[in-house]
Symmetry: C2
Subunit: 476 residues, 2 copies
């Protein structure tokens, strides 16, 4: 790639122009590029490697909780979409439609899946006959398409990659348990792998998934104080089983409609990582999902022994399971420092003649810019410990930041001031759609989730008794 020593100065200011900072960072670090069709993205190797690490971590968790992967077709007959009335209302305006194939006009137009409840429901109806066939616990990794007017790489693109879990249960209790279990899996994954604290909770009717009985979401606070919906888990009740005829003969000999769930996270998570941890110098990647965990930068590489020591160190770290790169390009150390900082690599290792003499290496942390000396003899354990410390520190820092920026509001004016200040705002809500719409209109904020604790007594909008305490925020 064309080299450019002015990278850092080319990133817009993170505080005064966060949207531009985001575009600069995702493009200049080689995470992504714009695709030729409006609204599409190309996920470049550095970005895709993050996705692969996310997939690996999540896939293991899905399998440990008893789920199996499968693959369902991309194209869904338009007639399937209309079987669940709320569902079609929510998704029809966004679908891409195939009308011709194999040189002929199709008898029925097909839509590219925006989500797969309808086609998976159709198959489940065929496969499930008896209570013995339940539960069905499946997941698929796939591309989906939602035609959006305003797009931004990772955050909102017409095509994106995701996983969608779809499960079927004999009882409401079991289905609800599954819904909450997977929400918990997402929360634990975000916390331990992405170093990303999230608020979890139920969504309002307005914000729920089209066709769900209840949607539970996890919301993360971005650098600018806006919220990003990072994952959702839906309790679908019998809505889809009735629309698609997913019935089973229960133990008592009675035919019953099953209860279903669905849950998903997407490449959006990459955007969430960037906007949770990034700083003025660029990306700051959590070690667990960073494509490169450590970069070795040789100092005075032509001095005897330096190149060899760097190569040997690389091999040792690799064998210890560290994802490591040795930057032996012709660029200056200073240039390399900038580049790898911008790329968010958690640990930079500097190794030169003096370090070699002293039997040490200098490690610079990306998260807090602290420098530590580690004995070369303890390189493996030292770097691994450092990566663990960084992961922990990144979470704690983000958690503290979020916690201090969840504030209380008793009136619409306070709510507006709160979100203007880049906060999540906890406020009472009477439960009516009019008040929810007013918050949107007046403060450009939406109800993200119901708070776990009911602390508000009055609706911040109308002053009537609060049915819920809600976390309001501006959102991506």
């Amino acid at each position: 790639m064309a080299k450019d020593s002015q990278f850092v100065s080319q990133i817009a200011d993170i505080e005064s122009d966060f949207p531009q900072w985001y575009s600069d960072v995702v493009l200049k670090t080689g995470l992504v590029d714009y695709g030729p069709v409006k609204g599409t993205m190309v996920i470049r190797p550095y970005g895709y490697a993050i996705w692969e690490n996310i997939q690996k971590e999540l896939d293991r968790r899905f399998k440990e909780t008893g789920h199996e992967n499968a693959y369902f077709p991309l194209l869904i007959p338009m007639s399937f979409m209309t079987k669940e009335s709320e569902h079609v209302e929510g998704f029809a305006p966004e679908v891409a439609v195939v009308t011709h194939a194999g040189g002929e006009k199709l008898a029925e137009p097909l839509c590219i899946r925006p989500t797969s409840e309808t086609i998976i429901g159709t198959m489940y109806a065929k496969w499930i006959q008896s209570y013995r066939d339940l539960p069905v616990l499946m997941n698929q990794w796939a591309n989906v398409m939602r035609w959006e007017k305003t797009t931004r790489p990772f955050l909102r693109t017409s095509e994106f990659l995701w996983q969608e879990g779809h499960t079927v249960h004999a009882t409401e209790e079991e289905a609800m348990e599954e819904t909450m279990k997977m929400l918990g899996v997402y929360e634990e994954f975000a916390r331990t792998c992405l170093a990303m604290p999230v608020l979890t909770g139920r969504k309002t009717e307005k914000e729920k998934f089209a066709g769900a009985v209840a949607t539970y979401g996890m919301e993360a606070m971005m650098h600018d104080g806006k919220s990003l919906q990072a994952g959702t888990s839906h309790y679908l009740g019998q809505n889809f089983s009735k629309a698609f005829d997913i019935k089973f003969l229960d133990k008592d000999g009675v035919q019953k409609y099953a209860y279903t769930t669905s849950w998903g996270v997407s490449t959006r998570l990459i955007g969430a990582i960037i906007m949770t941890h990034g700083d003025q110098r660029g990306l700051v990647l959590p070690p667990v999902v960073a494509p490169v965990q450590a970069v070795i930068v040789p100092i005075a590489v032509k001095k005897p022994g330096v190149a060899e020591a760097c190569a040997e160190l690389k091999t040792r770290l690799e064998q210890a399971g560290v994802r490591v790169v040795l930057d032996d390009s012709d660029n200056s150390p200073g240039w390399k420092f900038n580049e790898w900082e911008m790329k968010g690599v958690p640990v930079r290792i500097e190794l030169g003649p003096r370090d070699l003499e002293a039997g040490k290496m200098l490690c610079a942390r990306r998260d807090n810019h602290e420098k530590t000396e580690i004995a070369l003899a303890q390189a493996e354990e030292g770097v691994k410990q450092l990566l663990a410390d960084i992961q922990k520190n990144m979470y704690e820092r983000a958690k503290e930041r979020m916690d201090t920026r969840i504030i209380q509001a008793g009136t619409l004016d306070e709510l507006l001031a709160g979100v203007n200040g880049g906060n999540f705002v906890r406020a009472g809500w009477c439960g009516c759609r009019e008040c929810e719409d007013k918050v949107k209109e007046f403060a450009q904020a939406t109800a993200r989730v119901y708070a776990k604790e009911q602390t508000a007594e009055k609706c911040a909008v109308c002053g009537k008794p609060a049915a819920h305490t809600v976390i309001f925020a501006r959102a991506y």
Copy 2:
């Protein structure tokens, strides 16, 4: 799932009705189901798990040979397809076309990728400027769509899953080296992971990829003697770099068109495994990619200690890295034997009171039905050794079978008799299209690959001097 003890008898006879045997096996073992849209398939968990194992093995090999994964958009502007004239001619008749999206008619119709040379080429042209940017070695795992008239699960479906590698090089030599290297990776993978011997070699002009300078394929012999193209590696020369303007400034200061390659294998490989190794009782899966490598069937499970011993054995084998299932369902051992045989599980372990007393377990091999006793104390090593033996035996058996069924033909009549007998036929070919077409017309056989050794002197069709020795066969 509804249980049925008549599974085995429901499989059609493998010798007299191989196509029906195939359909029966893929459906009844739960590998796949038909999707609602004609020509589509649903890959069920048992089938998808094979694909996951294939992906894992191949992905490691791609990375070891320096390739990185990326993801390019599903939708390609129709105008891209027409930039390479051979390419559009080959693929246009098969594409599915999106004409409407987001509730509006699109200004330009978009096609769902049948393969991604055109969209990836467009991005490469943007990214590549200098010889320093080369080589570019990328791969993507994706779904593609080719609208086919006649379809069969795994073998030919309108949508399928695959990987497509796309590389760019400064010189013809390097690009050719890459083309052959990846063909070699496929061959080694097929041999060691799928226990599948293949013939590799160059394809004729008629059979090559639309837009390639040269296509190299690997062909595997199925149970009925027909050939299945199991993977291809294309040397694209400068055809796509000229059509998409992939240029670079070379060391000598001259702007040059780059040389590109592409290579792919797909879920078709699952069909290849089934038809290479399957027998009258159903699937026979190679241990390396089998979702379940060993099944434990308890005998007289209510006798003291049996259930506990089976559970303990399962845990031990799992910890040793064996993919193992304990079938503790209510079905009879005989029923279980049938079911797991049909599912092709490599090793069945029977464990009952007498075995426990003797400190042994009985292991039945799926490949040759031999039974071995293994000491319970050596369960881990014993089962792993057995799996390795099965893998090796399956390859050798298939190799011997293929070797004895490659025969020589000097005339078109001999060629016809050869393919009628379920053989691959080695024959001379003058090199002209008319003779190639005559083989197709007369014997319903096609040129699969050029043979490694030039043994024929005359064209089997016209009798003129042979330019090539070709392997002809009927093909899937």
